[in-house]
Amino acid sequence: MSSSLLGRIARIAALALWTALVAEVFVRLVAPQALMPRYVTGTPSGIRGNIPNATYSHVTPEVDVTYRINSQGMRDDRDYPPTTPPRTCRIALFGDSYTIGYELPLAATYAKRLEALLSRPDRPVEVLNFGVSGFGTAENLRAYESVGRRFHPDLVLMQWQVTDYDDNSRAGLYRLDGDHLVPGRATYLPGVAVQDRLMRWRLYRLLTDHSQFYNFAREQIGWRGKQLLALFSKKQAATAQDGGEVENGDYAISPAQIRLSGALLLHARDVVRGNGAQFATFDIPNRDLTSSYALLPTAVQQQLPPISPLADFRAAAAHGEHLFYTTGARHFTPLGADKMARAMAHRIEQDRLLASCRAAS
């Protein structure tokens, strides 16, 4: 290699290093960013999952939280046997970063709060947290079918959130053929291959855990990429008879996305009930304290009335209480998670969703 070429390469490397340094300093001084690495990888079921036994932290101006993933890919300090212990009821939660409890210590997650609210010394309740950041209904369903049902939950609670409309159509794991839900692609592993490769490098792990600029860039790329994909997927999904998109918060939702999501929820209910468990959905309110569940087809809303803390959220917000963080990824505060858990516990008691398990125990 000639010396001039080596010199050029050295200059480019030096510039790249300088750029990274300037970027890190600029971001830290001018617009501090949250450090929120995602420790996810591919699973044999063709979807993402939490990296087993991973330990990592999220740092935002408001929180500093450490996450521990058990060997089964759940956020927990311990593993769970496939069979339910005697006199114990088991609930499985499926959802995204809200469910896994981003920005919350383990004890403050609504999974653990629900466990505490329902458990009695003579009749413990285990809440298994299958949440994975970025999941929509389609992936939740796949996660239940491939892993969740092995743990024989008595009740499955599946999260609903405004992003699910887009997540479900983008994932492509299911699609609508007329009014029928049919399987789509076999796998949906966005960015996983690249992330897996990068995670082998210590330098990358250092970046993802400590560089504010890297975390900012990753969030931007993910968000803008989603915007770009949404632009195309919506153009394809919308047909003349579909009518226009519906605005909900920051999201524009197409009629095709609404129909697909409705069909997925009903299908998930049937699958879970087919395994002898109860099923319910819970609605994560939008940050402007509206609900995106109300956009789903009326039949879905009637057949699957969601567990919703919305009324409680509005009352709390009227008293100036903070239910969502204002920085970072703006998930629930401990208060928001607690209200979500109380809404779940209330519905479970009211509709006797654990009645069969309690009778058996």
């Binding site: 510039l15 300088w18 750029t19 300037v22 970027a23 600029f26 971001v27 001018v30 617009a31 960013q33 900012f216 860039a217 931007q220 803008r224 915007q227 770009l228 632009l231 003349a240």
Partner: protein, 525 residues
């Protein structure tokens, strides 16, 4: 299609390679530019592409007629075919919906072309024919502009005025959509026909060349209002695209993006609540709101102009400078030589001078200044606030003229202190005019001004946020202002400094973007 959105990124990513491939074949390149322009414009609302095509066809014929020529069948057919073709394409893009709305205006426009061509061609006297074509161009263009922009304003104002006299017209406001950029391309087009009629410009037979000029997509929505003498020659030749030019284009685009996304959109967050509900706010909060809007409108509009110039530079074209550091002006006349230069010059050349300019003595000069500024205000929008804005600017210009302030400020023995004092006097006046420009009504403007003059709680308000977004802009522009005087230039800085500056600019555009993006303010004009 906004310059900083995904649709534009995809559009430009597809367009630019095709442009580079065709750039040496002038005619094909121009056709590509026209097609791109109609896609760019039609992305907002495909129905209005026919209006744009109508303006192109009409002004092509008008310019030829205003030059004293008789329109040939070929020239008439080109206009008709172009409009008909765009009309059909628009109908197809609209999936055949709104058939009557999409076809009847096109048919009416074709009839108008035909009627004008055959009627005015029969006039023997060349001077009369030239004049009639010019009148036709101005009247039809202004009629279209008035219909879309001023119909409701005049109808409601007349109804309001007559109802005070007991006469009720019962005017019902029409739901009229304002076509994007109509004020800009209408003025651009009229200007060209006037130049031709005055013998300053030869009309071109080349329809494609003219259509490229009138629909050039970087500037079609919000200017600069280009002169045919500046742009048409560029569309006649292959434009050289050097790395230096492309680099300048990218830098200009990034700088414009910074002014829009970082400065203007973030300051809008401070200004909007103040203008929305000013009552009960302290003087400090009101003042921050007014200052924030003063910087916001500059960042917004000059940002668009910079992005437009940057994109044009990437294609090897040169658009006129539309803003030359206006907030460093010391007198109102200097401000108008630096603010929205293309409109200021248009108003000067085609309105102020046409009214007599400064040829008829002091009184007539002042009257002409007032008239020009009030009409300039009305150009911005159909509301009394814009008229008050124009009136105030006219008044300031007249007062400075009567007091001969320019002579004093720009004396050869000027000192920096005198310039600074003049600047410190002018800027509050400019901010005062922006208060009315932005206010939802004259009463709201009055309330804000009265609230500021109350001088209570001046320290209150988000001064730190205002300074955070405004100061970097003025620090850079201050350096540019010094460069005007002392030949300081960015390119002479050491490489690492220049490189770091560009990295910081890119980072600011990524990191400091306002969470709620705003449409360009001037898209409403």
């Amino acid at each position: 299609m906004l310059f900083f959105t995904w649709p534009f990124a995809v559009f430009f990513a597809l367009f630019y390679p095709a442009f580079l491939m065709l750039r040496r074949r002038v005619r094909a390149r121009n056709v590509l530019l026209i097609v791109a322009a109609f896609i760019f414009y039609g992305w907002w609302d495909v129905r209005f592409t026919t209006l744009l095509a109508f303006t192109v066809g009409l002004d092509y014929l008008s310019a030829l007629g205003a030059a004293g020529r008789r329109i040939t069948r070929d020239q008439w057919a080109k206009s008709c075919l172009f409009l008909g073709g765009v009309g059909l394409a628009a109908l197809a893009a609209n999936h055949g919906r709104q058939l009557a709305l999409m076809t009847l205006p096109v048919l009416a426009a074709l009839l108008l072309y035909t009627a004008l061509t055959f009627t005015l061609n029969r006039i023997e006297d060349e001077t009369t024919r030239r004049r009639r074509w010019l009148h036709a161009c101005v009247i039809v263009n202004l009629a279209v502009l008035c219909f879309f922009k001023y119909m409701n304003f005049f109808g409601e104002s007349l109804d309001h005025a007559l109802s005070a006299l007991g006469v009720h017209l019962g005017y019902v406001s029409l739901a009229i959509i304002l076509p994007l950029g109509i004020s800009f391309h209408t003025f651009q087009s009229i200007g060209r026909t006037i130049d031709v009629s005055r013998g300053r410009l030869e009309p071109s037979d080349d329809f494609i060349e003219f259509a490229t000029f009138l629909t050039f997509f970087p500037q079609i929505l919000a200017g600069p209002i280009e002169r045919a003498s500046h742009m048409l020659p560029q569309f006649r030749h292959v434009q050289t695209i050097s790395w230096t030019l492309a680099r300048q284009g990218i830098l200009l685009f990034l700088w414009g993006l910074f002014k829009k996304q970082v400065v203007a959109d973030n300051l809008a967050v401070l200004a909007n609540p103040v203008f929305h509900a000013p009552h009960g706010l302290s003087s400090g909060e009101l003042l921050v709101g007014v200052l924030a809007f003063s910087v916001q409108i500059y960042g917004d509009f000059s940002g668009y102009s910079d992005m437009a110039r940057g994109l044009a530079a990437l294609m090897g074209f040169d658009l006129r400078i539309n803003f030359a550091l206006p907030y460093f002006s010391r007198t109102p006349s200097e401000f108008w030589r630096r603010w929205h230069i293309s409109l200021s010059q248009w108003l000067r050349d085609y309105l102020y001078i046409a009214l007599g300019g400064n040829r008829g003595g002091a009184w007539n000069t002042c009257r002409n200044l007032m008239l020009t500024m009030v009409l300039g205000g009305l150009w911005h929008g159909a509301a009394w606030t814009f008229i008050v804005w124009g009136f105030l600017h006219g008044l300031i210009l007249v007062l400075y003229r009567v007091a001969r302030v320019d002579d004093y400020v720009f004396r050869p023995d000027r000192t920096w202190l005198r310039g600074l004092a003049a600047w410190a006097v002018l800027m509050p006046l400019i901010a005062l005019t922006w208060t009315y420009f932005r206010a939802n009504g004259v009463e709201t403007g009055n309330a804000i001004v009265a609230g500021i003059l109350g001088l209570h709680g001046l320290a209150q308000g988000p001064w730190a946020s205002f300074a955070f977004y405004a100061l970097p802009l003025f620090a850079v522009e201050g350096a540019m202002r010094l460069a005007e005087d002392r030949s300081f230039a960015f390119v002479r800085l050491p490489f690492l400094l220049r490189y770091t500056a560009v990295v910081l600019l890119v980072l600011a555009n990524l990191v400091l973007v306002a969470s709620a993006g705003q449409q360009f303010i001037y898209f409403d004009f």
